[in-house]
């Protein structure tokens, strides 16, 4: 019996071209024993939701530095729900003002990690909050 692994889609919605943060997170999650599906830059919410479905991920981790998070993050959440992925954990990261965080949480993003968050915090959060039965 192999161990059930946590599968995470690390995605960058929108138009900014900076994926260093996303790569750092991807690497940290890999080192924590997770399978990280990395999709690259400039993904539309539709592309992200479709990839999440095809890859049957447990977690969608969104990284965004362009300022469009209030639009794009809820859109991803909505599309995931429409595609029947209501058990997937959605987290976000990037340059996101504190004042926007309550809005994002109301719209289905479980946690927001701002610059300076230790990767261990992200890993712990994911391990503690993955919604599907992961043993």
């Amino acid at each position: 019996m192999t161990e059930r692994r946590i599968r995470v889609l690390v995605a960058k919605p929108g138009l900014d071209g900076h994926d260093r943060g996303a790569k750092v997170i991807a690497r940290a999650l890999r080192d924590a024993g997770m399978e990280v599906i990395y999709t690259g830059l400039r993904q539309t919410p539709e592309q992200i939701a479709t990839a999440a479905v095809q890859e049957d991920v447990d977690v969608v981790a969104l990284s965004l530095l362009s300022g469009a998070h209030n639009h794009l993050f809820p859109k991803v959440v909505q599309l995931l729900k429409e595609k029947g992925m209501d058990d997937v954990l959605v987290v976000g990261g990037g340059v996101i003002p504190d004042s926007d965080i309550p809005f994002l949480k109301e719209n289905g993003v479980s946690e927001i990690f701002t610059p300076g968050t230790p990767t261990s915090t992200v890993i712990e959060f994911i391990k503690n909050n993955v919604k599907k039965a992961v043993s």
Binding site: T2, I37, V53
Partner: protein, 312 residues
Amino acid sequence: MELTERARLGDQRAIARLISLAENEEPEAGEALKLMYPHTGKAHLVGITGPPGSGKSTLVDKLAKELRKRQKTVGILAVDPTSPFTGGAILGDRVRMSDLNLDPGVYIRSMGTRGRLGGLAKATHFAAKILDACGFDYIFIETVGVGQSEVDIVKTADTTIVVTVPGLGDDIQAIKAGILEIGDIFVVNKADRDGANRVVIELEMMLELNPQKSQWDFPILMTVAPQNKGIAETVDRILKHYDYLLASGDLFRRRRDRIRTEIVDLVTQQLLARIVQKLEGEERFETELDRVFNKENDPYTLVQTILEETLR
């Protein structure tokens, strides 16, 4: 089972769930595969293998787009290595395939090797069966970046494409045993680089030395995948190879051999798992270990005794 029915109707979420069940070796996966098996055998399974960075993912992306132009549906299984130290993996093949994403006639799945060393994951074979039963016309299986001896792909694919690039080494590389023996089609990708012609010549020489005469002509194609050069020709050859396999009877021989291998592999694995499980649970095993350690018995006699007892 409802999940298999939904998958066969093309529900990508159901297909994805089934593949996860197989990857995680859940008992439901075995039941699902039993239901799917009668519907397999219609797809053309195409393996893509070659060294890391040779452009396998980009090539798969372009080949899939070409097949879509020809109104065919495509499933893609892309395998990347799992860390032997942490069990984690970065599966990055989708980066090269992002605009295939929204095409409903394409399904892409990334898989970590999860401890397998032959270039594929243990569940890749099952995933291919699932996609086959779900009606995809073509299934591309992209192996991890391989060195010289990861040849599991031939146990799954009908047609194997070996991708190489200029600049990897001299002509002795081409006559070594291993992946070059498994290609039905050879692709020299990044053929706009210096040395591409030389690689083609070396491959031709290697193939001429092949003592096994075959009606198949083992084509060597030059491609520059990002510019779509050589892609339509490669697809033509993939289709032609399938015609050859059908006409020569090789398809049936290969597939029958594959079933044999699969059954033997599964029996071996399950027997192994059972024996190991039984041993680990037995206190007597520890006592026997001590006896071997103290030279009162030897490992080989003990192995014989264990096998005789288990298989009785």
